[in-house]
Amino acid sequence: MLQFDRISLAEQTESLRAEVREFLKDNDQHFPLPISDFTTGHDPEFSRKVGDKGWIGMCWPQQYGGSERSFFERYVVTEELVSAGAPVSAHWIADRQSGPLLLRFGTEQQKQTYLPQIARGEAYFSIGMSEPDSGSDLASVRTTAVKEGDQYRINGTKIWTTDAHRNHYIICLVRTEPPSENRHAGLSQIIVDLKNDGAQAKPIKNIAGNEEFNEVVFEDVMVPADRIVGEPGNGWTQVTSELAYERSGPERFLSAYRVFVELVRACGESPAPHEAAAIGRIAAHFMTLRRMSISVAGMLENDKDAVVEAALVKELGNNFEKEVVEVARLAAPMAARSPRFRDTFEQTLLLSPSFTLRGGTREILRGVIARGLGLR
């Protein structure tokens, strides 16, 4: 479990990397202030351009709009986009999570309907997991979907739903059977069209002053029965497998990368020893985390179970990306701080509480790791 394989990216990934960098240079008007947090920057025009390049749904079959490339090639594209601070949030969840979920568990019709739109950078998804009374204890969700003929009637409230007010679809974890002794039973995932089905998304302003996450209310929202993802009742298995994909990518340790870049800039060519040490410390962590994250990509490529390894990367990565902001604050000389340093630093610090909350809190992840260690 603690073995993170030593993987070298194939030589052909270098030309892909160069192509992504070229693309970013040509499109830098989309991100005048680069921020590496993947939830920052919802830009459909940019996402469509990424889709045009074939960089969304990269690992999916061509028949669904994918380009059948390896997890490593996808890794290269994602880390280039995130480290550059490009505005990826519109397509990010659909590409990373919803698409792979549909590919693995969805019906043929769902794959044909949604995957090509996602791959073109035109369909954006939100994750409907948390509820006002169900956060870390996800199995306690109370939103119901009751079958009525060839439709489901959905009632309940989802919360902390990133971009629900501007995305096209949400995949909700719902109760399709009343709660029973097995609390993981009777849960299903269902796709709701946020533009047309009557769900009400209300943005909730966060401490950075941004309106990104939402409360989404479902009052007798009727959707066709064929929107259930996979088998009714299989929801718990599906969400847990979905989370493994969510937890180990480069966005789990690069959220504060642009702060690091501004720190290096502020310290100049000949930094004082303590400044150099601050830079070197952060770099050493980035280099190690990146290698661990690539090892997990290798496990996913080989269909290996990577739940614990992904949790280890996220645990280390999220704590570290918070620290980057603090180290930059302490090390960067005040007089050398550019307006860009200040904006990048302040925005990232204000976003940083979310780093160890989203995608499973620090506390939940430590539980996952402890289970992997045989302690529970």
């Binding site: 601050a278 770099a283 280099m287 190690t288 290698r291 302690l375």
Partner: protein, 320 residues
Amino acid sequence: MSEAQSTQQLILDTAGRIFNDHCNKPLLDRAEQGHLAETLWGQIAENGFNLLGTADSGTSAQDMFAFIQLCGNHAVPLPIAETLLVNRWCGPGDGLFSVGEVADGRIVEVPWGRAVQKVVGVQRNSDTVFVVNAPEVVEQGVNMAGEPRDVVSLPDTAEQLTVADAWAQMAVARSNQIAGSLLKLLDLGILYSSERIQFGRAISKFQAIQHSLAIVAAEAAAAKRAADAAVDALDGDRFVFEVAAGKARVGEAAGLVAEQIHQVHGAMGFTHEHQLHHYSRRAWAWRDEYGNEFYWQALLGSHLANLGADQVWSFIATRG
């Protein structure tokens, strides 16, 4: 599994069995009292483990450092990492050898200088190394783990060799030894917390303990990955920077892991009688040998600052 991987696994399995059987608390205590573990050394030599990575051995530098990591895991109380590196630099030899740092016309911090047939003096800022046969020990000492660290004289007649980054290679050895010891500390923490009963149950069932061990697991895994990466950079043009990242990251993990694992062990782990200190004290000692975190962080950071803010990503985003 590739052929190279299965060769390495065979080496580690065989050596692991020997260490499990023979490298135990009584042996570590005796070594700390200054007795060389001759029987254990004999078993290592008998299996040819002291020649790993040398020409004609059919093994690689990766195998050698994986073995060094395993020695760290078992706190093998011999200058085995030093012997392996001397054989790598000077060609294979039969004896037990050591390595120290040249300072003021002497070679200092020499593990088991008193017991070895040859000492190589390395320098931080030079590729010239000095080979001293039948070394004369002028001062005996120990590090905070009780491991012999002696001073030997450096005669004018010492043979000089050019070995690129010999000092940095020693840092890679220490990084791997530390990574091994951190994995051991994790194992000890899991074991102890599963056996210790308080409030009517094993303390491993408490969330506070589980979270401590989860942190340790993450740090130990990172340390291992960082140490391995430095090995893979051997002979490459960014070797010294990968050593820097590795030793800095591993050293940071060492302090954190030792602290957490001692906390998990309570007062029991604070006794000399318990085996824990043989591993924790080594981790503490080794992180300062051949460059501590600050030294390597500053070296890496200076290089990156010199490259410039917009070039840093290209430096980090390597293929390997």
